[in-house]
Symmetry: C2
Subunit: 334 residues, 2 copies
Amino acid sequence: MKSVGKQSIDFDNVYLASGSTAVGPLEGDGPLGQEFDKVFDDLYCGETSWEKAEQNLMKTAINSAIKKANINESDISFAFAGDLLNQTVTSNYVMRDFKTPFFGIYGACSTSMESLILASVFVDSKLGENVLIATSSHNGSAEKTYRYPTEYGGQKPQSATFTVTGAASAIISQKTSEIRITKATVGRVIDAGENNPNDMGSAMAPAAYETIKQHLIDFNTTPDEYDGIFTGDLSSIGSAVLKDLMKADGILLDKNYNDCGLLIYDLKKQPVFSGGSGCACAATVTFSHLKNKLLSGEYKKILVCATGALLNPIIVMQKESIPSIAHAVVLERV
Amino acid sequence: MKSVGKQSIDFDNVYLASGSTAVGPLEGDGPLGQEFDKVFDDLYCGETSWEKAEQNLMKTAINSAIKKANINESDISFAFAGDLLNQTVTSNYVMRDFKTPFFGIYGACSTSMESLILASVFVDSKLGENVLIATSSHNGSAEKTYRYPTEYGGQKPQSATFTVTGAASAIISQKTSEIRITKATVGRVIDAGENNPNDMGSAMAPAAYETIKQHLIDFNTTPDEYDGIFTGDLSSIGSAVLKDLMKADGILLDKNYNDCGLLIYDLKKQPVFSGGSGCACAATVTFSHLKNKLLSGEYKKILVCATGALLNPIIVMQKESIPSIAHAVVLERV
C-alpha cells in the first residue's frame, strides 16, 4: 500500500470477501429489484418506527455479509459504519449487537466509499484479516431528520431526490476473492456555493468532479480505463452538471458513466423526482448490481465515486451554503 | 505497526508533532486556564451564532496546530475530524477552508481518541507524513442539539454534565518529537441499559471499563504501568462507577486515575454540575495539560480513554437505552 499523488492510495492486497444488501419495497420494485439479497415488502420492515426499520435493514445486511463471507462474527477485526440520522444512531445502535471494535464515521451519502477506503487501509496494513463495513438510509427516517415527516405529505420540487430505503454491508479481507479493491481517491470538502437543499445533485456534482479529476491526475489515467464510472446519488440534474464540468476540461464522461441514483429506480415509472439518494444509494447498487457485473466478467474494472452533501437543516436555515464531499474507489475483477 | 490481542494496536513510529487548544471563557477561568493556547472571553467567540462560534474554535485550534508543527497546510496528507452537532457540521464546514483529503468521523465524545487512532494508523502505514485531527464542542450548540436552547434557562439535575466549549487539533507525524503515540485500544459499542440522558457518566462508565480492561488484557499489563490514566468525561458520578467496576475485578484505579471532566473545571466553584463533557473535554485536556506534563517529564507514559455516549434526543424519547463507546490511546515521553 502506498499513497499516490495528492489524494490517492494504491492498495496491494485487499479483496471483497462478500457484499450484501437489504432494501425496501420501492427499491424491490425498481430495475435492480432482483439483485438485492433481501427485499422487505413493507416500509416498516416488520418494526414499529422508521428508526427501528432502518436498524433492521442494516442488521440484516451485516448478518448476511458475514454469512456470505463464510466467517464468524469473531473473525472480524474491526468495523466501520455510518448513516444519515442525527449522531449516526442507526450504526451505533446496530453495533451494540456485535462485539467488534468499532469506528463510527460520517460522510453523508459518501459513507459507503469512505468506509471502504478505511477498511482497505486496515486490511492492507494487516491490522485485521477481515474488516466489516456497513451503511444505511431510510426514506421515512431521513425525511424526518432533514425535512418534514413523510406523514405530513409535503410537496417537493422535481429537482429533489428520493432517499433510498436500504442498507449494505461488506466484508473486506486479506483473503483473495474474485473482486479486488485496488485504488482509492479520498475527497476534500468542496463548497460551490449551492444552497438549495431540494437540489443536492447540483451541490454534490462539483465534489464528484474534483475527486474524479484528481483520481485521473493522481493515477495519470483517463475515464477509458474503466468499464464503468458510477457516482453515488447526483440524480439526473447533478449528473448533467458533472458531465458539463468534465467536458469543460476536455474530459468526456459519456457511454461508460452512470449514477447509482438513476440505476436503482425507473424514473419514468416510479415517483422519485430526479433520482435516488441517501447512504444506501451508492452502497446497495455497488454491493449488488455492480458487484454482479464484476463477478460475471462484464466489467473488469470500475470506479465508484460516492457523493455526500454535508449539510444539516439548521445550518441551511442559517443561510449557509451546502458543502459536499466525494470518495472514489476502484474495484477490479481478479 | 501490528494488531495486539482482541482490540488493540501497537504503533512503531508515530509522533505528536503539535497539539493546540482553543476554549471559551468558563474553561479559561478553570484550573487549566493558563494551559490553553487561546481563551475566548466571550461565548460567541466573535461570531453571531453558537454554530459559527464552534467553527471559529475549531478553525483557531487547527491553524495553531499547523503553525506549531512548523508545517504548511499542503504538508498535511489527510485529516480526520468530528463533533457533536447533527451531521457533524462543525467539522464539515470548517474543512471547506482546508484543501486536505478528509475523513469525517463520529464517536461522540470519544472522537478525539478515535481520530488519534485512525491518524496514527495512516502515519504508521506511511500513507502520510503528517495527518491532522480535530474535534470541538460548544455548550450553546450542544445544549440546543441534545436538550433545549440555553436561552430557555432550563434547570438540570446535579447528575448532568456541562458541555465544554472548546476545540483541539493535533498534527500526528512520522517525524520524531518528544511525545510518541505507542498503543491504542479500539472500543466496542457497550449498552449497559442506562437511559437517563441527564446522567451520561453512568451510561459511559461501562464502556470505559470494557476498553481499559481489554487494554490491560491485550497488553498483559496493569494500571501501575501508567503515570496517569484519564477518562474523557465520566464526571464525578461516572468516575465512581468506573472505579467500582474495576475494583470488582480486583483492579484498583486510584491514585493515578482522573477524569478530564473533573480536571477542566473547579467543581466547587464553577456551575458545571457533575463535571465537564463534550468532544472538547478529553481533547482540550489531552492536548494542553496532559501534553504539558509529558513534555515536562512529570509523566512518562499515560493512557487516555475518551468516552462517548452514542444517543440522540429522538431515540431516547423513543425509550431506547444509551449505548456508549470508549477508545484508549497511550502517549509516551520519548
